[in-house]
């Protein structure tokens, strides 16, 4: 196939990626949008196979079959609660592919001996750097989310110094690749150091900051693909990669804003390593916490007209989303309006709660964003907080010294009664006590999330 036709097909594929992403602007059109993106990819792959420089197809088909099998098994088997791990892993694989392709292109150019351009060598160095950081950063994120390694921030003395040295080292090696591309060893040294940098950069970030990390790695995987596009002088790679890079950056910004923290603070802050005590737990809770039984809460729910459910990561951990949906249906059958308040950083990745609730057949129009639901709390009879903590902590509004000061929160404390389902009074990720638990209008229901909701279902049935 002549190169002109191939490039024309690449243009069609690029357009399909953009139209496909545009489809993501509404749940109604999103399935089609995703299919259009896949169609674009299919066209790109088929056309590439017709390139006249390809002399053997065995390895290509072997790789495609093996990769498709692994990808399909992952996609079908993965549980919705484990989606953050899945996306982390996929990000990482994208980064790894960029490293390998840029490396192969470097070797090829060396063998062919038709000289190097700076565009190629600089882009190759960037592919190695970004791709290596993405690959190992994602593996660490995967390990944390999958509980293979500690989910807490790992901090040690001299950490920032070490990170800075490794960063400087990788920049020096990247310059080496750009200036002296003939020495392929420098390239692999750069890849190795970039991988170490990826580990160091992610290991110091705690579990609840994962939404930021995954968004950022998502962006990196796109930028790595874009850099590879500069290496291969392939416009489609540049376009597709920069679309994903932009997407990841936007999500990163949204996540940081939702925590009222700068990106630098999330990446280097090491929050969640040691408990920060701005207020003593005893002072906040001492004698003021009221605990309630399922029967008492059941009576309350029985007569409620508007109930708002506030899910957090704890709901995912105890797999309570289906029970929550059953309870909501029961209350709706009694004439109550049931809404869901989703904080942008609830869960371990952007939109995590929405996917879990969609899995449990909760219609997406019942899921409300923070800005939309906050004015509705004062007119709600009962708010049920399940598995969320820091995102409903009123201290964010009142105490400028607090680590979560200024973070936008869900105003659950303004509803008539708040029911908090929680195992104990243990602090959330920020390591601070939550005065909401001791508020006059709060009832604590100490139990495991899923069991608690099932008990409430039984109690509501009993009460009627």
């Amino acid at each position: 196939m002549p190169p002109v036709l191939i490039n024309f097909a690449y243009l069609v594929a690029s357009a399909l990626f953009i139209v496909g992403l545009k489809g993501m602007s509404h749940p109604r059109t999103a399935v089609r949008g995703n299919a259009l993106g896949a169609a674009g990819m299919f066209i790109a792959v088929v056309v590439t196979m017709l390139d006249r420089n390809i002399i053997s197809y065995e390895m290509i088909f072997a790789g495609l079959v093996l990769g498709s099998a692994i990808g399909a098994i992952l996609a079908v088997r993965i549980q919705m609660t484990a989606m953050p791990q899945m996306v982390a892993l996929l990000n990482g694989f994208g980064g790894a592919a960029s490293v390998l392709v840029a490396g192969a292109a470097l070797v090829e150019a060396q063998v062919a001996g038709h000289g190097f351009t700076y565009q190629m060598t600089v882009a190759t160095a960037l592919s190695a750097l970004i791709g290596g950081v993405t690959f190992f950063g994602s593996l660490v994120a995967f390990g944390k989310l999958q509980d293979l390694i500690t989910g807490n921030a790992v901090v040690f003395p001299g950490q920032h110094l070490l990170n800075a040295l490794v960063l400087l080292g990788s920049i020096a090696l990247a310059a080496g690749v750009a200036i002296q591309p003939e020495s392929i060893e420098i390239y692999w040294a750069l890849v190795a150091v970039a991988c170490v940098l990826g580990v160091l950069a992610t290991i110091g970030i705690g579990g609840a900051d994962m939404p930021v990390v995954i968004s950022l790695l998502n962006s990196y995987s796109g930028l790595a693909a874009s850099a590879t596009g500069f290496v291969l002088q392939n416009n489609m790679l540049i376009i597709a990669g920069s679309l994903v890079g932009a997407s990841g950056i936007i999500l990163t910004q949204i996540m940081c804003k939702a925590m009222n923290r700068s990106l630098a603070n999330v990446l280097f802050g090491g929050l969640g390593a040691a408990p920060v005590s701005s207020a003593k737990a005893d002072d906040v809770y001492g004698g003021k916490v009221k605990s309630a039984t399922a029967e008492e809460i059941g009576m309350l729910l029985e007569s409620a007209r508007r109930v708002i459910i506030v899910p957090g990561y704890g709901m995912a951990v105890s797999q309570a989303q289906h029970a929550v949906r059953t309870l909501a249906r029961l209350l709706e059958a009694k004439g109550a309006e049931v809404l869901y308040a989703v904080h942008p950083v609830a869960g371990r990745m952007p939109g995590h709660m929405n996917v879990l609730l969609a899995e449990a057949d909760v219609p997406y129009d019942a899921l409300k964003e923070m800005d939309e639901i906050n004015p509705m709390f004062p007119q709600s009879d009962v708010s049920i907080v399940i598995g969320a903590n820091d995102v409903v902590n009123p201290v964010a509004r009142t105490d400028p010294q607090s680590p979560i000061a200024g973070m936008p929160i869900l105003d659950v404390d303004k509803s008539r009664t708040v029911v908090v389902i929680k195992r104990s009074l243990s602090p959330g990720f920020a390591g601070i006590p939550n005065p909401l638990f001791a508020a006059d209008n709060t009832l604590m229901f100490f139990s495991d999330g899923q069991k608690a909701v099932n008990d409430l279902i039984a109690a509501v049935k009993e009460a009627s």
Binding site: I18, N34, M59, G67, A72, A104, V107, A240
Partner: protein, 92 residues
């Protein structure tokens, strides 16, 4: 140099398009957006196919093969899991 400027032009314009398109995605679809855009970033597969099929040296073929596997997992896994998620989003 001219090629570089052309490539940079495309890069910058595509970033702007990306910002315009992605800011319109509602928060409820942020997880499928990530997995779907992730599948698109598996476009490196195209480069991987060329590396593994042109057979310059054994090394490039091996690197290309590994890259094809990684990128295909990314593409196939990403699009399939996104489709699985999106199929669950329903109206009342």
């Amino acid at each position: 140099m001219e090629i570089l400027v052309t490539a940079l032009t495309i890069f910058v314009l595509a970033i702007f398009v990306g910002f315009e398109v992605i800011t319109k995605v509602p928060p409820t679809l942020h997880t499928p957006l990530m997995s779907g855009s992730n599948a698109i970033s598996g476009i490196t597969l195209v480069g991987a196919i060329l590396s593994s099929g042109t057979q310059h040296t054994t090394l490039t073929t091996a690197l290309g093969f590994a890259a094809v596997v990684f990128a295909t997992i990314n593409v196939v896994g990403g699009f399939l899991v996104t489709n699985r998620m999106l199929a669950m989003f329903k109206r009342k």
